[in-house]
């Protein structure tokens, strides 16, 4: 992850795209073929696919009742309640499906935010270079050395109050939960773009010295056009890879925050908040293991498959990765 190794050179890249979108596609297709040959990554993709289908179609099933409070609390797993019930008698299976959904959404949006900031930052710094590059990268260095979780915590709590006291709160009405939700996306995205920015910048630096870019300049193409048509397509593989790896890390971050009581607030629930509600139910007197086991296993499965898939993408697309022949 050190900056200097990234910017060395793109020795591994076999065929730099000659500026055409079609050529870019073959490079992409090569990458995806490499990815698909990777057995763990393929397995992870299947698991993710199944997980996604379950999570998005389960709400159609009649036993999906995440918010129905019954008097059968702490019921162990049975045919009726596949994963048991929680302290309010809610069906845990539905809660876990719901939580997985929220966790996935948080991960995706957080990764999207970090994609926008990281890519823009990295391309601008790498492409224009010089003073601007120095300034932008020092800024990244400083943020890198800050304790990011503290940053998020302070940002979340203060931004929330600032917005709540501004005229915006009248539009929101009572939906402060929604507000918290969006601040969470913004905060998590805002701390996880640093690695991407460094990597993108390194790649742009090495692209900049290539002949095809020089010919673009001599043809008199504008900066915006060159970035859009020639720089960005060449970065695409590596960007997908790191955005993919950002998803699990954002999910993990969110579950940390939820665990500390700073993340998703009820009525929303994420895997992290489910786990944190399960922890107090483990005590020497009575152990309601299902309250922690099922959310924890789901979270672990989600993170494992996302990481496997991300690793597979990195092996397939990152020119620096050693396992690419």
């Amino acid at each position: 992850m050190s900056g200097e190794s990234v910017e060395s050179e793109n020795a591994g890249r076999k065929s730099p795209v000659q500026g055409k979108a079609e050529a870019g596609e073959t490079l992409m297709r090569q990458g995806f073929r490499r990815f698909w040959r990777n057995r763990p990554a393929r397995l992870a993709t299947w698991v993710l696919g199944v997980l996604l289908i379950v999570v998005f179609f389960a709400p159609l099933a009649p036993n999906y009742r995440p918010d129905i409070i019954t008097d059968r609390n702490f019921a162990p797993p049975s045919m009726e309640h596949w994963m048991g019930t929680d302290d309010h008698g809610r069906d845990l299976w539905s809660r876990v499906v719901y939580g997985t959904r929220i966790s996935l959404i948080v991960g995706l949006i957080g990764a999207a935010v970090s994609f926008f900031i990281g890519t823009t930052w990295g391309i601008l710094a790498g492409y224009f270079g010089g003073r601007l590059d120095q300034l932008m990268m020092r800024f990244v260095d400083i943020l890198y050395s800050l304790p990011s979780i503290i940053f998020v915590i302070v940002l979340l709590t203060t931004m929330k109050e600032i917005i709540l006291s501004s005229p915006l709160s009248r539009i929101l009405g009572d939906n402060t939960g929604v507000l918290h939700f969006f601040l969470l996306f913004a905060g998590l995205g805002a701390v996880s773009w640093l690695t991407l920015a460094r990597i993108v910048r390194g790649q742009v630096l090495s692209l900049r010295s290539q002949p095809f870019l020089e010919s673009c300049h001599s043809l008199g193409l504008g900066h915006a056009y060159i970035i859009r048509r020639h720089i960005f397509p060449n970065l695409f593989g590596i960007i997908i890879t790191y955005v993919m790896l950002t998803i699990p890390s954002v999910i993990l971050y969110e579950s940390f925050l939820s665990f500390l009581g700073l993340g998703i607030e009820s009525p929303f629930a994420s895997l992290g908040s489910l786990i944190s509600r399960g922890v107090p139910q483990i005590n020497p007197v009575r152990i309601y293991w299902w309250l922690i086991a099922f959310p924890a296993l789901t979270l672990a499965l989600l993170l494992i498959s996302l990481n496997f898939a991300g690793d597979g993408l990195r092996d397939a697309f990152d020119p620096k990765s050693s396992s690419q022949e």
Partner: protein, 306 residues
Amino acid sequence: MIHFIKRLAMMIPLMLVISLLAFALVRLAPGGPFSGERSFANEQILKELEARYHLDKPVLVQYGYFLRDLLRGDLGMSMKYRNHTVNDIVRQGLPVSMALGFSAFVFAMSTGITLGVITAWKKGDLTGDLLALLALLFICVPSMVLGPILILIFAVYIPLFPTSFFHTPWHAVLPVLTLGVYYSGKISRLVSEGIQDALASDFIRTARAKGVSPILLLFRHALPMGILPVVSYSGPLLADLLTGSFVVENLFQIPGLGTFLVNSSLNRDHTMIVGLVLIYSTLIIFFNIVVDSLYAVLDPRIRSSR
């Protein structure tokens, strides 16, 4: 050395910027630290409380007071833990958090490097594949999942270890494991990747051609290169361990600083937030500088380019 001192000196303006940022962010939030409390019977009491913490003055003046106190090493009074100074709380909590963090650091480094070396050595073998999988599992099981599982197994079903507090080494086993396992996996992956890269490079081929034994090849030639990424990672690692301990402190009821930080940002304990942010960032930036300098000492390529 001169470079190191220069970097240390650079910390001062950086810390000023960070403190100003933290200060501004906290004060910008509307509602003072006391506005959420039960309504004061007497308006006068609120006024006096605010005057005590200089809250009645403009933000810049408040920052001036803060800097003046900071120069004397005083982070001010906590606004919520009445009659406790931030210094008191830091003095109590920081050693605990640091002890937890450093133990986990030692654990993660030792197990991670060992695991990484074996993984790289046995690559292609079943052992190597299994170890690589193990390292990946370590990364995928977050501490708030691992912690309860460890408590269930080693404290409830097999009552081996105590589950809370942190006063004997015996108490430290589960928290340190919970905190360190993730980083152990991460380090192991870094090491094995680094060694594999090193083993593929030209100087290793030369050494092999000269007839250096495989063991010597691994430890004398490949390991020093393979370990460099770990050195550069250890700065962020220490930072992560210090702040990542929040969850573990929460799980095992360890009286570290984490709880204070979370609580203070929830109940607008301004002096506490700013003080703790400052303490944490100072530590983290300091570790980063030390690690960077160490890196320069260890890697001759960087040393000569300076």
